[in-house]
């Protein structure tokens, strides 16, 4: 009995920390419609800055002043980010907003590395809260009790702020209808800045409060962001109270899950999230959100299969690629194989994103599942490579079928966040289930069959598989299924009205995409000869996204070019600088700010804009009656 009470209290203390981190994200999303990926980075910065300040400020007063000053300082950084970056991308598709804030996360990671060094830091304990009090004979840290009180206090304070001040009323109004608030004379610009600052203050405060409990580490940002996404999705985006309820549920589940089923508490968390989302797709207290901006611009020209000339050009390019082993050495060929694998991986995501309109932020899951599936086939069952190359895509498929069943019930940002959460769960399983996956040590000795072991032969193998996979996916885009998928993407209501099920169509696309990613993962395992949990981590998902963006979301297979360029650039970058995350993060931010409609979208708008306007002038008068007021 006493053990349960203590676990319950520990759960509540964790819930408070989680709530502080999550509520800011929810508030920011409610008003600005931006899912701030950098929230975890600010949480981490809060902890690091608090650590440095507590070293300089002494005594009980100094400690608490340090915590609050750290949160305030980081909040100012947040204000600057909002004014300098986010204001430029409020109109951009949500995918770009997620990517830009992820770019900021990458940059912060390297900056933290430069300023505080690589080692974990242990801060001081909170003066006056060092000890423990006995509860039913078991010790409970007093600091935990403090946190248990603090969570509801912050919740109450936020409630008062939102309901008892003019600013709060304006924020709630803007959460429902931003244009109307502006039409009533409110300058949203400063409302947005204020909300963002508040949200970042809360995140940094949550991070700073962690230093008496845990070490300050570089992994804090991505660890917390995955949990925060789960909490916010379960609680309902934009709802503060929902975030609190979800934080309590998740934390208690973890606390008791460890007690009852040690080792599978993560799976439990996933199951609960799944159940909640099936019953309430928008979370406890969330509301369905209209996703205003789609990735595909209005001016997208219709896709067409390759003309004869393009077909010949592609055939020549493949032929040239097939002749490369004549000139390249083994290092060059291994880079070549890596690029080809990236091409398949990027193409699998592009199929889902461009054709399906499903912006996945967790595509690493299926790549990684394919890699682990193949590696384990060889390692644990001693089966040949040929079979492993079949098992890889199959594990990707199974993963996509399980996760996709939940994901396709949602759309827009909810979809993106859920895919990310699933990818993180897969990563945690690979990391923690040491007996099967080898944990951090990975699986070693995954070598190709003898006939494919020479660099040239393996290169030809990946080239063959890659070309077939890309052509097959392209073919699908122009098949009846591809048309259905695009119909659902462009107008869900109209597609459903002619008998096309959105969920089923997207589910199939998700499964196909996951299978192709699994195939890429399987090849990757054999190329590297070993596999680690890294392949499942967030950066892998981001790599795929950037490749698709580089090639152009509005194209059918531009990611092939994007993958080639990006993979070569990142291999070069890794060898050229220690600060690759800073450079890559800066590059992503630049990409989003400079080309808010995507590279291809921006280019085609630039080239064909005036022409399109001239061409449509004739028919506008005829279509006006339909589109004028019906278009809103």
């Amino acid at each position: 009995m006493s053990l349960y009470v203590v676990q319950f209290l520990t759960g509540l203390a964790n819930a408070s920390s989680l709530f502080l981190a999550a509520c800011g994200l929810s508030v920011i999303f409610g008003v600005t419609r931006i899912v701030n990926f950098a929230h975890g980075a600010f949480y981490m910065l809060g902890a690091y800055v608090a650590y440095s300040l507590t070293l300089r400020l002494e005594g009980a007063f100094g400690f608490w002043a340090a915590i609050l000053l750290a949160a305030a300082f980081v909040a100012v950084l947040g204000t600057l980010l909002e004014m300098l970056l986010l204001r430029r991308i409020y109109q951009a598709p949500e995918l770009f907003q997620l990517l830009a804030t992820f770019g900021v996360t990458l940059m912060v990671e390297d900056l933290v590395h430069i300023i505080w060094g690589p080692q974990d830091l242990v801060g001081p304990r909170a003066p006056g809260f060092e000890g423990a009090v006995p509860v039913f004979g078991l010790p409970v840290p007093t600091y935990d009790l403090l946190l248990i009180v603090l969570g509801p206090l912050v919740l109450g304070g936020l409630w008062l702020l939102m309901h008892r001040t003019r600013w709060g009323v304006l924020v709630r109004a803007a959460t429902q209808d931003r244009d109307m608030v502006a039409a009533l004379g409110v300058n949203q610009k400063w409302l947005f800045t204020g909300v963002f600052t508040l949200g970042i203050f809360l995140a940094a405060f949550g991070g700073a409060l962690q230093i008496p409990r845990t070490a300050v580490t570089h992994q804090m940002d991505l660890t917390i962001i995955a949990e925060v996404f789960v909490v916010v999705v379960i609680g309902g985006l934009g709802s503060i109270t929902g975030a609190f309820l979800a934080a309590v549920l998740i934390s208690e589940l973890n606390a008791f899950g460890i007690l009852v089923f040690p080792g599978i508490s993560l799976v439990l968390m996933f199951l609960v999230m799944a159940v909640v989302l099936v019953i309430r797709p928008w979370g406890f207290l969330g509301k369905p959100i209209q996703t205003g901006v789609t990735t595909i611009g209005e001016a997208t020209r219709p896709w067409r299969p390759w003309s004869n000339t393009t077909g010949i050009a592609v055939a020549v390019a493949v032929l040239v690629a097939a002749l490369l082993p004549v000139v390249l050495g083994s290092y060059g060929l291994s880079v070549g194989s890596q690029i080809l694998i990236a091409v398949v991986f990027a193409m699998s995501l592009q199929f889902q994103m461009s054709t399906g309109g499903l912006d996945s932020f967790g595509h690493a899951a299926y790549f990684g599942l394919g890699a682990y599936g193949a590696a384990m086939t060889v390692e644990w069952f001693d089966l040949p490579m040929e079979l492993a190359l079949l098992v890889g895509p199959l594990t990707g498929l199974v993963g996509a079928l399980v996760f996709g069943w939940f994901c396709v019930r949602l759309s827009g940002v909810y979809f993106a966040m859920l895919t990310l959460a699933f990818a993180q769960i897969t990563w945690s399983i690979a990391f923690q289930w040491v007996e099967v996956t080898g944990g951090d040590n990975g699986i070693l000795g995954v070598w190709p069959a003898d006939w494919a072991s020479s660099p040239a032969n393996f290169y030809w193998l990946t080239l063959t598989v890659g070309v077939v996979a890309v052509l097959a996916l392209r073919h699908l885009v122009f098949s009846p299924f591809g048309y259905r998928l695009r119909a659902v993407r462009d107008s869900t209501v109209r597609a459903e009205a002619i008998g096309i099920s959105r969920q089923r169509t997207q589910y199939v696309a998700f499964a196909i995409s996951g299978t192709a990613a699994g195939l890429a993962g399987a090849l990757f395992a054999f190329l590297k000869g070993s596999i680690f949990p890294d392949v499942l981590a967030i950066p892998t998902s981001i790599d795929a996204l950037v490749m698709v963006l580089l090639g152009g979301v509005a194209t059918v297979s531009g990611s092939v070019v994007g993958a080639i360029v990006y993979t070569m650039a990142s291999i070069w970058l890794m060898s050229a600088t220690d600060l690759s995350r800073l450079v890559l993060g800066g590059f992503i931010v630049f990409l989003v700010v400079a080309f808010p409609q995507g590279i291809v979208g921006s280019l085609s708008a630039f080239v064909s804009g005036p022409f399109e306007r001239w061409r449509t002038r004739g028919r506008t008068e005829r279509t006006i009656a339909v589109s004028a007021e019906g278009s809103r």
Binding site: V169, L170, M180, A182, R613, E629
Partner: protein
């Protein structure tokens, strides 16, 4: 035309949603304390005209002079702060905010030479609202929401109000109440531009009228002139 004394003077207004042009060289004016009706069938561009005035369309071109300032390039909130009030067709009441809170969102500082509205004065104008100060906007009837959205806009102390189809979907009794309220606003010296699909409601309260069809102005004159002109009414307003 009262162009010299006009509060709102619009010339050669073009508006676009994406690549599609909705308004073509629209021009009209509303004088001080005048009630002007903008008539036209569903889809003629009435709502788009109002949204263009407020800067809520993708792109607009032309001249919009309000109180002797050019506002066609100004952001929405700035236009509202100059005293141009907007009551949208779909009301857009903040459903999760109470009546009091809805009014609070609209509150702006007092303006010289214009009536200053307070919640108490608005409750006197719309007694129904006074009985439901704490009720969320989402739990009100259509007529109550229409009263609330007008009151919310009046809290900004506007000198001219754009009323987009104020009688749409309301019971006859509520429509009478609405007409009384608009006349009360007129007595306070407010200019009013209202859009309507048919003459019936508009002629109770308007001084002048314009007819919009397929994004162009097709008629301009007094209500009496319009009532006399059967040909125009048949061509542009009959269903």
């Amino acid at each position: 035309m009262t162009s010299a004394a006009a509060k709102l003077d619009v010339a050669r207004l073009n508006a676009f949603y994406g690549p599609i042009q909705i308004l073509f060289d629209v021009g009209f004016s509303v004088g001080r304390g005048e009630v002007v009706a903008l008539l036209g069938r569903n889809g003629a561009g009435k709502s788009t005209t109002f949204k263009s005035l407020m800067g809520l369309v993708d792109r607009r071109e032309g001249e919009i002079r309000f109180e002797d300032a050019e506002i066609s390039r100004q952001p929405t909130y700035e236009i509202a702060r100059r005293g141009l009030g907007y009551v949208p067709e779909d009301r857009r009441v903040f459903g999760e905010l109470t009546v009091e809170e809805n009014l609070e969102v609209g509150r702006q500082p007092a303006r010289d030479g214009v009536t200053t509205w307070t919640p108490e004065r608005l409750y006197a104008l719309f007694p129904n609202l006074a009985e439901m100060r704490r009720r969320p906007g989402g739990q009100m009837s259509g007529g109550e929401q229409q009263m609330l959205t007008i009151s919310r806009t009046l809290m900004g102390n506007p000198s001219l109000v754009l009323l987009d189809e104020p009688s749409e979907g309301l019971a006859p009794k509520i429509i009478e109440q609405m007409a009384d309220a608009i006349l009360a606003m007129k007595r306070e010296g407010l200019g009013i531009l209202l859009s309507e699909q048919n003459l019936h409601f508009a002629r109770l309260i308007s001084d002048r009228a314009y007819i919009l069809e397929k994004g162009r102005i097709r008629f301009s004159g007094t209500i009496a002139e319009l009532e006399a002109n059967t040909a125009v009414r048949d061509q542009y307003l009959a269903v």
